[in-house]
């Protein structure tokens, strides 16, 4: 699982500057996600500003995270579709301590599970508001943080959410 391990590099991403949309506090740093053939559609979709989920053509179950087959019926006839990007906060925590440099400057920040209209929950950050104002049930919409694109590569984004 070398690809999976690689993205732990995020934790040591250093202190590069991030533009953060007229806020004094920087967002967490988002490195270019580690992509493999199972997850490429998701991250490339995020690079285009689309939240991409998977649905099984055989049993119609929506699944997240993306996989090379439907783990409800084991069919490999799985399609990607663009979700509405709307949902509500299922649960959250305001993180006050994280020694990793990529996150230290963003403290306090909100990690959350967002319940999507399509069924799955996504682990994400809630941005664009005072962390203290987040609550369970808060309506949110997806928002995409761009990541650095190496020459010749397809842009990738990182989905996070803000109050709707």
């Amino acid at each position: 699982m070398a690809e999976a391990r690689d993205d732990t590099k995020t934790q040591d991403a250093g202190t590069r500057e991030v533009k953060s949309e007229s806020k004094s506090k920087p967002d967490p740093l988002y490195d270019r996600p580690a992509v493999d053939w199972e997850t490429r559609a998701y991250w490339e979709g995020a690079g285009r500003g689309e939240l991409v989920l998977q649905r099984c053509r055989a049993c119609r179950v929506v699944q997240h995270r993306p996989r090379g087959l439907c783990v409800s019926c084991l069919s490999d006839d799985v399609e990607s579709f663009v979700a509405t990007g709307r949902g509500e906060v299922y649960t959250y925590s305001v993180v006050r301590q994280n020694q990793a440099s990529a996150f230290r400057n963003a403290l306090p920040y909100v990690v959350a599970y967002v319940q999507l209209e399509e069924g799955p929950q996504l682990l994400t950050n809630i941005v664009g508001c005072d962390p203290e104002s987040v609550s369970i049930g808060l309506p949110v919409r997806v928002d995409f943080a761009p990541t650095e694109t190496p020459p010749g590569e397809t842009p990738l984004g990182v989905p996070r959410f803000r109050p709707a």
Binding site: A4, Q11, V111, Q115
Partner: protein
């Protein structure tokens, strides 16, 4: 396993040792394992040459795991098990050892753990973004620390059931009270509910004192047939029931209030032919206060959503409705990254008896439950029910 009281096919814990120090900057994790092996063998009245099954796990050993432990101790066991399912591993090792002994794969199993997490200054709960599973790319961008994965579960429990920070705090208070009776515990000064609530927030709603400590430590457990255990130094502590399970994000919409303990607990109780009301003392993995509360619910000690009422005001203290972690747990006594072996050890100590002020009087049946991993993301559970011979 037979329930007729005969020893045939039954398995027992014959030796234990918990490394006494919580700070060992002059030791390696292997050295701690070796010293614990020596002491547990002495406790049982066995020698290293009696051991033919070796089980080990920790957070730092290499990819071949237990093989390196065999090499370090110059052992050539005929049965190896390096199962690593997180902090619960050692509870599972007891179950695996029992099965191996029952099927003749080994006769004397040695389970080892050693860690220098504190002197290595590991930021176990508050570093990075967490997770090295194939789905890590969906986790690591978001800075979900270990603490915050448990905190999100706590937040949801509060939302669904009205559980309060005060109720969670009472878990830490009871556990510290127990630790004050354990001369080896790392934190022994009693605390109040207010102390917990006024300690700084690490990840809302969990405060510093809702979190386990970080120590160095290690332990060893020896499992053998009940027949053989009866000829050894200590009264045998019989393995009555075991269960293992896992809980995770499923395909995106899990019920965070149902944790692995539900499935593993049902298996263990069914095997033992016992009910939660039969348990005299429990050792429950207490990485965080919420872990204890949710584990008690999922094991069936109380109904779903009623964990707050169960634990508050000394409910899990000595003399309470169910004494939990009388050694002071990971919250106050010993947490060096993977606490599971200490759950087994304290359960055995309580059933052997003679612990003085922290002894649960008349304890006949004990339950140990380990949780490994990230409660709100992906975790394992292992349940063990032990009884006197």
């Amino acid at each position: 396993m037979t329930a007729d009281g005969k020893s045939s096919g039954r398995v027992a814990i014959a030796g234990i040792h918990e490394y006494e120090s919580r700070w060992a900057p002059d030791k390696t994790s292997f050295q701690i394992m070796g010293e614990c092996a020596r002491e547990a063998l002495a406790d049982a009245g066995l020698s290293l040459s009696d051991v033919d099954g070796l089980f080990a796990a920790n957070m730092t050993m290499g990819a071949m795991g237990v093989v390196g432990v065999a090499e370090y101790l110059n052992m050539k066991p005929r049965y190896l098990d390096g199962t690593n399912i997180g902090g619960s591993s050692f509870v599972a090792h007891v179950a695996h050892a029992a099965a191996a002994i029952q099927t003749g794969r080994c006769e004397v199993a040695l389970i080892l753990y050693g860690s220098t997490a504190a002197s290595d200054a590991m930021a176990i709960g508050t570093g990075g973004g967490g997770g090295r599973d194939p789905g890590a790319a969906f986790v690591s961008p978001y800075g979900m620390t270990l603490v915050s994965s448990y905190a999100m579960v706590a937040r949801r429990h509060m939302h669904e059931f009205g559980t309060t920070s005060e109720q969670l705090a009472d878990i830490a208070v009871s556990t510290r009270q127990h630790a004050s009776l354990n001369p080896h515990a790392k934190m022994r000064e009693p605390i109040t509910r207010q102390d917990v609530l006024e300690s700084r927030l690490i990840a809302d709603p969990l405060h510093l004192l809702d979190c386990c400590i970080i120590s160095d430590g290690g332990g060893a457990v020896i499992v053998t047939s009940l027949e053989r255990a009866r000829d050894l130094r200590q009264p045998p502590i019989v393995v009555r029931g075991t269960g293992e399970s896992v809980a995770h994000r499923e395909i995106g919409a899990p019920d965070l209030m149902t944790i692995a303990a539900k499935q593993s607990g049902e298996q263990a109780f069914a095997m033992a032919g016992l009910e939660p009301t039969d348990i005299d003392v429990a050792t429950i993995y207490d990485s965080f206060t919420i872990t204890v509360l949710l584990t008690l619910e999922n094991l069936g000690f109380c109904k779903r959503g009623e964990g707050g009422a169960f634990v508050e005001n000394g409910g899990i203290g000595l003399g309470g409705r169910l004494p939990v972690n009388p050694d002071g747990g990971g919250l106050s006594s010993n947490h060096s990254g993977m606490r599971g072996i200490f759950l087994v050890i304290e359960a055995v100590r309580q059933l052997r008896g003679g612990l003085g002020a922290r002894q649960v009087e008349g304890a006949e049946i004990a339950l140990a439950h380990g949780t490994g991993g990230y409660l709100g993301l992906m975790h394992s559970g292992a349940t063990l029910i032990l009884g006197k011979d």
